[in-house]
Symmetry: C3
């Protein structure tokens, strides 16, 4: 397998698990089958689409390459027909979701740096790539985005991965190894945060409401 095939495979795994989570949320709101497929697809590729729009990479790879929408649709239809079983897999979904978050945040930051953006905008786009699909999913379902909610430590972990990428790039050592470290960091932080119910600092005076 050549490196770019590996990258594509990782990307499609990320799309698959994000679509599972999106479709599960749509099923919980009782959308019909087309609604579930639409929500699952938006959740899976939405973050990357926002990044690509802002970088001017259009049509975005997630639309130009048919496999992205095929994978997200397949995952959504799977959830539609087997959602009780998928729900029972919630723990597995959360673990895959943590891996997808790391993957997308790191890939998004790297792509922004390659496009010539500075460190801070690249971190912003990295976080947006990681959390964008979830943002759009929750907006379309009429909820405050989970990824911004207190105590979830979601955007924070994405930012941690982005910072590693930016640091490695500044030191001129960014490559497959650094990317893997950054993805692993996001993954581990997120898993620990779920287990220990960690949360990021809250505004002063509002901590214990």
């Amino acid at each position: 397998m050549n490196p770019s095939a590996g990258a594509l495979l990782l990307d499609l795994v990320g799309v698959f698990v994000f679509a599972l989570a999106g479709a599960l949320a749509a099923v919980a709101k009782r959308l019909d089958i087309v609604g579930v497929a639409f929500l699952g697809t938006v959740a899976a590729i939405g973050g990357g689409l926002l990044r690509d729009l802002l970088l001017g990479d259009v049509p975005p790879p997630a639309l130009a390459d048919w496999r992205y929408v095929a994978v997200s649709t397949a995952a959504s239809v799977l959830v539609f027909f087997f959602h009780p079983q998928v729900n029972r897999l919630t723990r597995a979904v959360r673990i895959f979701d943590a891996a997808g978050l790391g993957l997308f945040a790191v890939a998004g930051t790297a792509k922004a740096l390659e496009a010539g953006l500075g460190p801070m905008p690249s971190c912003l786009l990295g976080v947006l790539t990681g959390i964008g699909g979830g943002l759009l999913r929750d907006l379309l379902l009429g909820e405050i985005p989970l990824v911004l909610r207190t105590g979830e430590l979601y955007a924070v972990t994405a930012l941690a991965g982005s910072l590693v990428v930016v640091a490695a790039d500044a030191l001129d050592v960014y490559g497959a190894a650094a990317a893997s470290c950054a993805i692993a960091l996001v993954f581990l932080l997120r898993i620990i945060a779920i287990r220990r119910q960690w949360s990021a600092p809250l505004p002063r005076g509002l901590e214990d409401h």
Copy 2:
């Protein structure tokens, strides 16, 4: 009238009826006149703008050609001043809206195919073109998008039209006749769905809540 003038006219009719529906929703939320015009315009051209952004066709025709915003603004102002009468026309608006949905979904799918996208992403963009304006309208008014709500059979009918376009394109017979059939299909499905209160399949175990 040359063919492209006919296409523009159909497009503007679609913009007009979608603006009527958007402005009516804004009036119901008691927005002021600028809010009503803004919402009506977003509802009318929003779906096309999202498609054009994703295809990289910028500035989008709906902004580059002044007639789109002029028509949507005129429709919105009309609703603002005569909304009791327009409300009485609800049935007519729904019929026009069904026609607009078919028109936009078919035109959106065809444009995506022309831009070189595959069948599945083209269907996604076709559905997005058809339902995007309504999505943005409902988001801005703080509601779960009607077009994704259970039992409305809205996105489903748009998808049916997109599939006809994709099939005709695969058979190399896409043209004015196939486009008309696809639009008519969306229109009829939607009208029948409204009359008979049809709905698409729901997730298992959630059908009768």
Copy 3:
């Protein structure tokens, strides 16, 4: 200071005050520090990003020039740590916000005209530049956008500024003087609207609910 440095400075002042307002709203919803920074930044540069996407100016200046995100992040972190003091400054924030609204609406309209759009689409993009950040902020926090709410006279004042720019452009007298007048008009209208609780015309029959 050369003219473009002056324009950049004004832009960054606008970004700073819009980020203050966005971060305050995020603090009120008890987001964590990354959520506050994300919301503040989206509120500050979101309107300009939407405009630049629609004009095809990508990557948008607000991402290509690191100072925008740096300023919005700094403002957000400031609010996160000192929000009781910033809240006490609400009046000052509203005054700066009125100035930012004028600045963004006028700059957005001028940029759209330069890109070759007609008067009506340029007004639409001007209003979108002015109110877009606030729209996105409120959407992400799960609220009906304040900028569209009745009695706020927010979009209306942005439109007034846009109309001055369009009129000056049509008379071929658009320049620093006309821009300043347009910004001052938005600023004054907004300040007076806040003081006197002015509101724009409401739909007939719904005025006194």
